[in-house]
Subunit: 136 residues, 2 copies
DNA sequence: ATCCTAAGATAGACGAATTCTAAGTCAAGA
DNA sequence: TCTTGACTTAGAATTCGTCTATCTTAGGAT
């Protein structure tokens, strides 16, 4: 959105109609679209946008740290614009719906030094699974 | 291995040369092979084994609960024979090496009811990331 | 020991998601 | 306005996995 576009421009990101539309599609809470969904929504506004551009733009936004890549199933990756506040994901085992959740405490603290095998552990990613109210 | 093959036979699993070889390839600690790697190793012993059979067999072993499917990156799924004791995974951000780890406490406990959105949360899967000693 | 047959194996076609390539287009600084 | 390197495009190619039609075989029945 405006915020995001401002920040990107400030970083010297060259602004184009395609990039603007992709960034605008990825706005809101609990948004977890696949690349194809992003492409479909972007194409509503900019019919000639190509898939390759959507992939390129998503990849750049991930590299810039402005969005997150989420792979909750073996299917297509999803893109999460909520990269500013750390959070985890709750996924419905039946329909695949994803919600952002905030567990208490730091998941990293649960991994004792003896279980780190000399790794410099930097992050922990938690996926909770269960049935959502609609699928129960 | 023997243990696994015994158990499978006891469950009425029809034994074939192909299935035996796949089960034998998936033996040991910290083993996390892709389907293609399983196929390559199986083919060393049984050159005519087909990819489809490896996929079929892996799928059956997952259904039987004898191995686990692990997706730590957006790439190929990996198969983990350590399905008996619950554990999580520690992945090297550089080379992709995977280790089985055992965090303290139950990760489910860290998710408050208010953060469950009415879901019947059943499991939590944690992926720790960092640099391994070799890549540091 | 041999036969039968459903379960398993095979090669290769197919499909989804993603990446690559070569050529055309354009944002933004000079 | 001009220039140029960065961006976009269509479509081919790649990767990972599934499906299909046909052939083979494990293991119970005879």
């Amino acid at each position: 959105m405006s915020d995001l576009l401002e920040r990107l421009r400030g970083r010297g990101w060259r602004m184009t109609a395609q990039r603007r539309v992709v960034a605008e599609v990825l706005d809101g809470d609990h948004v977890h679209l696949t690349a194809d969904e992003v492409h479909a929504r972007a194409a509503q506004r900019l019919p000639e946008i190509s898939r390759a551009t959507v992939y390129n733009t998503l990849g750049e936004l991930v590299t810039l740290g402005e969005i997150l890549e989420v792979a909750t199933d073996g299917r297509a990756k999803r893109y999460d614009p909520n990269a500013h506040r750390p959070h985890q994901h709750l996924v419905c085992s039946a329909c695949g719906t994803i919600r952002d959740v905030h567990p208490t405490g730091d998941p990293l603290a649960a991994l004792p030094a003896a279980e780190r095998f000399g790794f410099a552990v930097a992050s922990a990613e938690v996926t909770y699974r269960g049935l959502c109210p609609d699928c129960a």
